[in-house]
């Protein structure tokens, strides 16, 4: 995975987050704290975030993997792996 792809993933996460949580200050997000605790995402918001990321990045995120994507760091890591694996 090259730097551009990592940038693309982060940019996509921020764009989707801003759509789901329009009052989110994505630049101030702590990558290790859950979106729920920082941005007050509820379970419907989180579901929308997951489904939008799947659509935007054309990847499959298994429902049971959702907890792995609860932080920015986890999100980036998971999506990088999935995109590298080409799924």
């Amino acid at each position: 995975m090259n730097a551009t792809s990592k940038e693309l993933i982060r940019e996509t996460i921020f764009r989707v987050l801003e759509d789901v949580v329009p009052n989110a200050n994505t630049q101030a997000i702590d990558p290790n704290i859950s979106f729920h605790d920082q941005l007050e995402l509820d379970s419907i918001d989180f579901l929308r975030l997951m489904m939008s990321l799947e659509k935007e990045l054309n990847v499959t995120i298994f429902d049971f993997d959702y907890p792995k994507l609860s932080t920015l760091k986890g999100c980036e890591h998971y999506l990088s792996e999935r995109l590298t694996a080409g799924v």
Partner: protein, 588 residues
């Protein structure tokens, strides 16, 4: 599609249902007999928290686990009935020392943390009134509810206090004390540490001195117009909590029971605190948000017998797939029920096929205080139906007459669902709004605002709301509260909200906005308005979609015709337009 009735067969080794013969139970039922199942206080006294905790301790059941608390970071804590009794005694003693007494309101704004349960029960023991606030409310709904309830004490966390209350403290003159569950020592004037103060109190306390008709619980709910209403419930409601827990949820002592509802709403109090404890069950409380894998693990590891959840969660479990459930041993599950909005037949059957337990839908409202209509363990389920009324509850489909009376309708006819007034958990008023309360009744019947039909076998079927209230993730949202906030934005001339169907939440809040002259619709402005609303209202209430329109359809008297917005959104016929003032709602 015509969904077939589900007939159930008893599994070997399972106890018989608490309600075996529905017709016989209805015929022989009396509320006095139901009341006699409770311990009661000396004289004519009655107290919900005494029935929920102390009664078990005095009967030698104090060492049974009352609460299994699962923290979001993997913690597991248990509290016995005796421990819960002592903790709630301490909180009641603390309230007394703070000068809080009969009828004073104590609010809680917190997630599902152990302190919340001590707060609720201790408040009731002190004779004060417990008023829960959902932690996903934004600052505006929190301010309105704290203000309208005239709360004297608020129990919350540091983060929630900082985000949602502190900056508006000047607008809340009645709020004398804020107790922070994670605060150390005196934080600032009027703000103290919950645990530091509780540590100074005694475990002991003489029995409460409340009477059955004393105010106990205040639950805010939303209507089409005006600010949210505080529905008043009294200690006598515990008679219905106990009965419905036993008959509708089939609860029995020492059952492991999990109600997934948050205590910020009525279900999380009536069935997430009171009913399981009064029935001597062990209740599971999970602090974390929905997570399919975690939920199956809880059902399996805690050996949950009775599960009460909601359609939004069931639909999310369905999305995660049936295979996931099969990795888990769910054999302890004896009964599964659902509440919050009608459960679609697919959800009922999914429970049967995947969990080996069909979901039993139940119907009730904030105002009814307890389950009124249910599908029972001993009865066949008609998927998609609300079920049949509890013993002691008389339900009917009615039509309001112009003279203020009502006409009862025949089976198959669509009308408003009504309940004959007088059951113990019926709300006793809207706080400081007698007129609004009075309008809920006609000819001795409570008019629910829900449209429904009844079939020839007595099963009720939900049709829709008779007003514009939105139900999102099972929670009522009043359009007025949302519209008011959007109208505070400089760009907004008019705003109207509807519930837009959503595959998971049932409905989401969708806003239609007309801009003031000089403002132009754009994606940036759409996001700005959604963010503006979310910052003030919080995720539980804020609109998730927003569409610009040139003008909103209004009646000649100036009321927004939300049903027309809804019809246009869904591509349905507009219905009666005779009162429409304008017809210029073309999209920008």
């Amino acid at each position: 599609m015509d969904w077939k009735t589900i007939r159930k067969t008893a599994k070997p080794g399972e106890p018989a249902p608490n309600l075996i013969d529905y017709a016989a139970a209805r015929a022989s039922f009396s509320w006095e007999a139901a009341r006699a199942e409770l311990e009661r206080l000396p004289g004519t006294g009655l107290n919900i928290a005494y029935e929920a905790t102390d009664r078990h301790v005095y009967a030698g059941r104090g060492e049974i686990v009352a609460l299994i608390w699962l923290g979001k970071n993997g913690e597991r804590q248990t509290f016995t009935y005796a421990e819960l009794a002592r903790l709630s005694n301490r909180f009641a003693n603390l309230l007394e020392r703070l000068g809080i007494g009969k009828g004073d309101r104590v609010c809680a704004l917190a997630g599902r943390i152990p302190e919340l349960y001590a707060t609720a029960l201790g408040t009731l023991k002190a004779g004060a009134v417990f008023c829960p606030l959902f932690s996903a409310f934004g600052p505006e709904p929190v301010r309105i509810r704290l203000s309208k309830s005239q709360a004297r004490v608020l129990v919350t966390t540091k983060a929630l206090y900082e985000r949602k209350v502190r900056h508006q403290r000047d607008d809340l003159p009645d709020l004398a004390q804020v107790l922070l569950t994670d605060g150390d020592g005196l934080v600032e004037p009027g703000v103290s540490s919950f645990h530091a103060l509780l540590a100074e109190e005694s475990d002991h306390r003489s029995p409460p001195r409340t009477l059955p008709e004393d105010m106990a619980l205040l639950h805010f709910t939303s209507g089409t117009t005006g600010a949210p209403k505080g529905a008043i419930h009294v200690h006598d409601a515990v008679v219905a909590h106990r009965l419905t827990g036993r008959l509708a949820l089939d609860l029995r002592p020492a059952d492991i029971y999990w109600c997934t509802a948050d205590p910020g709403w009525v279900t999380g109090v009536s069935y997430g605190i009171v009913a399981p404890l009064v029935n001597g069950a062990t209740m599971v409380v999970d602090e974390a948000e929905f997570d399919a894998r975690r939920w199956y693990a809880i059902l399996e590891q805690e050996r949950v017998n009775v599960w009460y959840t909601a359609p939004t969660a069931i639909r999310m479990l369905m999305k995660a797939g049936a295979e996931a459930a099969r990795w888990h041993d769910l054999s302890a599950l004896r009964f599964a029920a659902s509440v919050g909005e009608p459960l679609n037949p697919e959800g009922v059957l999914w429970g049967r096929d995947v969990l080996s337990q069909p979901f039993h839908d139940t119907w009730w409202q904030t105002e009814t205080g307890a389950i009124m209509i249910a599908n029972y363990r001993s009865q066949a389920i008609r998927p998609g139906s609300m079920g049949q009324p509890l013993p002691g509850v008389e339900a009917a489909i009615i039509r309001r007459r112009p003279d203020g009376g009502i006409d009862r309708l025949s089976p198959g006819e669509e009308g408003e669902l009504a309940l004959r007034a007088g059951w113990p958990s019926m709300f006793r008023g809207y706080l400081n709004d007698e007129e609004r309360y009075r309008r809920c009744f006609a000819d001795g019947w409570y008019l629910s605002g829900d449209l429904a039909t009844q079939d020839t076998d007595g099963y009720f079927w939900f049709v829709g709301r008779s007003d514009d209230v939105i139900k999102t993730s099972g929670h009522m949202v009043g359009p007025f509260e949302v519209e008011n906030v959007l109208m505070e934005h400089l760009a907004v001339a008019e705003a109207g909200m509807i519930g837009k169907p959503d595959a998971f939440a049932g409905q989401i809040v969708k806003a239609f906005v007309a801009l003031k002259p000089g403002y132009t619709a754009s994606d940036a402005l759409r996001k700005e308005l959604l963010g503006f609303a979310r910052t003030r209202l919080g995720p539980a209430v804020a609109p998730r979609e927003l569409e610009f329109v040139a003008d909103l359809p209004k009646t000649r008297s100036g009321k927004i015709m939300r049903r027309l917005l809804r019809a246009r959104e869904l591509g349905l016929p507009p219905g009666d337009l005779s009162t429409l003032e304008n017809d210029e709602t073309k999209e920008d």
